[in-house]
Amino acid sequence: MVTIRIEALDVALGDRRVLAGIDTEMTGGGLIGVIGPNGAGKSTLARAMLGLLKPLSGRVLLDGAEVGTLRPADRARTIAYLPQGQTLHWPLSVERLVALGRMPHLAPFSRLSAADTAAIEAAMAATGTLDLRTRDATELSGGERARVMLARALAVEAQALIADEPLASLDPSHQMEMMELLAERARAGTLVVVVLHDLTMAARFCDRLLLLSQGRLMADGSPDTVLTDAALAEVYGITAWRGTAGGTPLLVPLGRS
């Protein structure tokens, strides 16, 4: 099982300090959510964890090795990424698109091996996209598209998966489906980190939450301990209603405080 350790991480985009003094450690076994208001640095944290951004100071360690110093293919085999609002620039078929996830495993100019094909099939089966195989990935509905993009990320068969706002533009049913898929992966041992805006979903599906505000890690722990009234008021400026419906814990934003 892979461990991501973040030590005193500072990240700047241009002149603006986006993350400051982030310290945490993440392992698989439970779904980890990253929450916080717009501009809190959630996506930046995700990108820094993937080695896409160079830290100003501090380190991101992947099983003890600094993520920026790993060979690109090694890093790619270990952490998969599901970016926010994934764009697709050419109308590939769904199968071809999912197959791109095997790229970190391929030697130059080699063909897909049986293991690669099996991984592609498994990823499509897990996301219920086998029927879409021959469809143009650019002509899918929002829900289909989100599942296909997740299949692409799962096909990497990485030990860690970072998903940046995978719920954006999904209807409630597809949102819950996406969260169930991610939580299932996480509980099976993959290190799954998901950036979320929806506090209800975060409270319901995540086992651990990281609350970011203005580039700082404000709270880190189980949803109960992170999503306190005081934290919601301070970070989001909102009040919330808490309750259960059919045994499911619910948190619903009520009003601006």
Partner: protein, 337 residues
């Protein structure tokens, strides 16, 4: 690179085979058709080392270099267009649209204008390559900073316009009408009166260019998902960028140095090929390379067959042939990419 049978589209054998056949036919036509009007039987005799020495000279010194250059330059332009479209994720990208061909032509013009080309045979291709590099480098820098294709196309137009202005300046200041004529002929593009030396000049440049461009098919596929995703798929984008830049500059520079600026081939060929592929940028690369060779060689045959007072220039024909074909495809396939 074609590591799976396509889920749709033409089988790889046909995708490679048909353009190859077209290239061979075009090459044969180019070898046997010309102003000397040599019967095919005499040509065959000459090619096998017998027959009239004059016929032999025409075939080996004039027509064979022309065939070789048509194939080489066409292949380079086809591959350049296909890989630039893939790299920039933009169906409008092409060496001439982005100003690389114009800049290389400017380099060639500078070499001609200042007499450097006469001083050393390598001066012309070298300046063409350097000028193409100078034009492409800022564009690639720009492409790295934004996901938007629009800024890049605008910058390409700026570079192309600047190079065009430089050429106009050279024409404006040219010491005599003959110099102006020579510069003009580089801009129109032609394969007429090329010698085996031209082939030896262009072939290594184009070989390097093709090798560098065809190397990165898989990276182009990953870029279908954007730069961040490509990097998280293990693609070292900085290296890809350097290979593309050098491949294009050396290849296009070398091609322009012997043929002048020939537009549209790099733009049109990938569009003609793409509907028959599974649309992955990598599966467009090799068929585009071969189809480019076929198209340019065929256009060079057309130049000889169309009766005109002054000899037609190749760049003029590719534009006249290419644009209607391109528009037809645009209309028929509402989505080409």
């Amino acid at each position: 690179m074609l590591h799976m049978p396509p889920a749709r589209g033409t089988p790889p054998v046909l995708l490679i085979g048909l353009p190859s056949l077209a290239a061979i036919l075009a090459a044969l036509a180019s070898l046997f058709i010309g102003p000397a009007g040599i019967p095919v039987a005499d040509s065959l005799a000459a090619l096998s080392g017998h027959g009239d020495p004059i016929v032999r000279a025409i075939l080996f010194e004039l027509r064979l270099p022309r065939v070789a250059l048509g194939l080489l330059v066409g292949a380079m332009l086809g591959a350049g267009g296909a890989s630039l479209q893939g790299y920039l994720r933009n169906p409008l990208a092409e060496p001439s649209v982005l100003g690389a061909s114009n800049a290389a032509a400017l380099g060639a013009v500078v070499a001609l204008y200042f007499g450097l080309a006469q001083a050393h045979p390598m001066a012309l291709p070298l300046l063409a390559i350097l000028a193409a590099l100078a034009a492409l480098a800022p564009l690639f820098g720009l492409a790295g900073r934004s996901e938007s294709p629009l800024g890049l196309i605008l910058a390409g137009i700026a570079v192309a316009t600047l190079a065009g202005a430089g050429i106009s300046l050279a024409l404006n200041l040219s010491p005599n009408p003959f110099a102006a004529m020579e510069i003009m002929s580089w801009l129109l593009g032609s394969l007429e009166d090329r010698t085996p030396q031209h082939v030896w000049l262009a072939a290594p440049c184009i070989a390097v260019g093709l090798a560098l461009l065809l190397w990165d098919g898989r990276a182009l596929d990953a870029l279908t998902l954007g730069e961040d995703s490509a990097r998280t798929l293990g693609i070292d984008l900085r290296r890809v960028r350097v290979r593309m830049l050098i491949g294009l500059a050396v290849g296009v520079g070398g091609a322009v140095a012997v043929s002048g600026a020939i537009g549209f081939v790099g733009l049109i060929v990938p569009h003609l090929v793409r509907p028959f592929t599974d649309r992955r940028p990598s599966s467009v690369l090799i068929p585009s390379t071969i189809a480019g060779a076929a198209l340019l060689t065929a256009a060079d045959v057309a130049v000889r067959l169309i009766p005109t007072n002054a000899p037609l220039k190749l760049g003029v024909v590719t534009a006249f042939l290419g644009v209607p074909v391109f528009v037809f495809h645009l209309v028929r396939e509402r989505r080409l990419w």
